[in-house]
Symmetry: C2
DNA sequence: TTCTGTGCAAAGGATTTGCATAGAC
DNA sequence: GTCTATGCAAATCCTTTGCACAGAA
């Protein structure tokens, strides 16, 4: 679903390794469900929410099944560990890779729900400038441009033409 | 709660008048609860959510009391009428004046929850440029800078100093 | 009189929590 | 063994809906 045209950044360790360090530093434990989730989530770069993840994972009958509450709890840990980034879209929490992935913002197509990534140093500069003017200590930001993507505009044109002909 | 340093824009009619036009154009009716809400909401410029509004309005015992569902339904109408703008913050819907108020974005203090407004033409330019590069038809955007406001940084310093002395 | 709006309670959707048990260290 | 993690169901939070009744036009 994501347009991952930003390329990857080389990192010193894998998400799994990084998560293990995170757990150790807090005296927490590595478990089978957590390993399953990390494997699945980092298999490909994409945006996802809890339900999408649950649909893709083994069903309740399977021994590898992970409960919904565990998914929520584990994703929260991943965010704390800096592995994932989370943001809200239409009332649901959306997750995406953070660790080893460059900072970026999104274009959100309100038609097909696709999230297109883009990177802008100028935006960061502008953000910091605004914050400075307001004596504000920045910790982060959220910038989502909404509208209709190229594909959907095309699709609408086609539909419209058909209708016009009838 | 809002820092309304952006000044007002002169408008041809009051929110109430505008809302009446809106209702008429759709064959809908003006009622007492709607009038009460418009009066209250436009008494002062501020950011608010449904619960804050409900707390400020007359209680259930009063004849002027407005039910929770009505508040939700009416605020939705105000947004449709262009009177209010709505956005989501930490899972709850926050409303602010739109009609007669200039376009702007926010700095959000994660400490005191305050929303500070700022206006940037450069941001709009940057947004449109990014959209154009991606063949994207913009309909709007959401930009929230999070961090800690000046007052809260000061407060923290004071607390910290006290602690250090003990 | 005819519909739209209101209030209340119930329903919904997403996420969190309580608790007994499984399992990591 | 001890203490964290899991699964399930129940609970929460915010918002929407169903329905009978009130009240604009």
């Amino acid at each position: 679903m994501a347009d991952s045209s930003l390329g990857n950044v080389s990192v010193s360790s894998t998400p799994l390794e990084r998560f293990e360090e995170f757990l150790q530093s807090r005296g927490k434990r590595m478990t089978r469900p957590q390993r399953l989730l990390i494997d699945h989530v980092f298999r490909q770069h994409s945006h996802f929410d809890v339900d999408m993840l649950l649909d893709e994972l083994p069903q309740r009958s399977d021994s590898d099944h992970v409960g919904r509450a565990t998914v929520y709890r584990t994703l929260t840990k991943f965010v704390e560990a800096g592995l994932l980034r989370a943001f809200t879209l239409d009332g649901r929490t959306v997750y995406e890779h953070d660790y080893g992935y460059p900072q970026h913002d999104h274009l959100h197509c309100t038609e097909c729900q696709r999230l297109i990534e883009f990177q802008s140093d100028e935006l960061i500069r502008l953000r910091d400038e605004v914050a400075h003017k307001n004596n504000f200590r920045v910790s982060g930001h959220r910038f989502i441009i909404s509208g209709i993507c190229h594909d959907c505009v095309q699709a609408k044109r086609r539909t419209k033409r058909k209708v016009d002909l009838v």
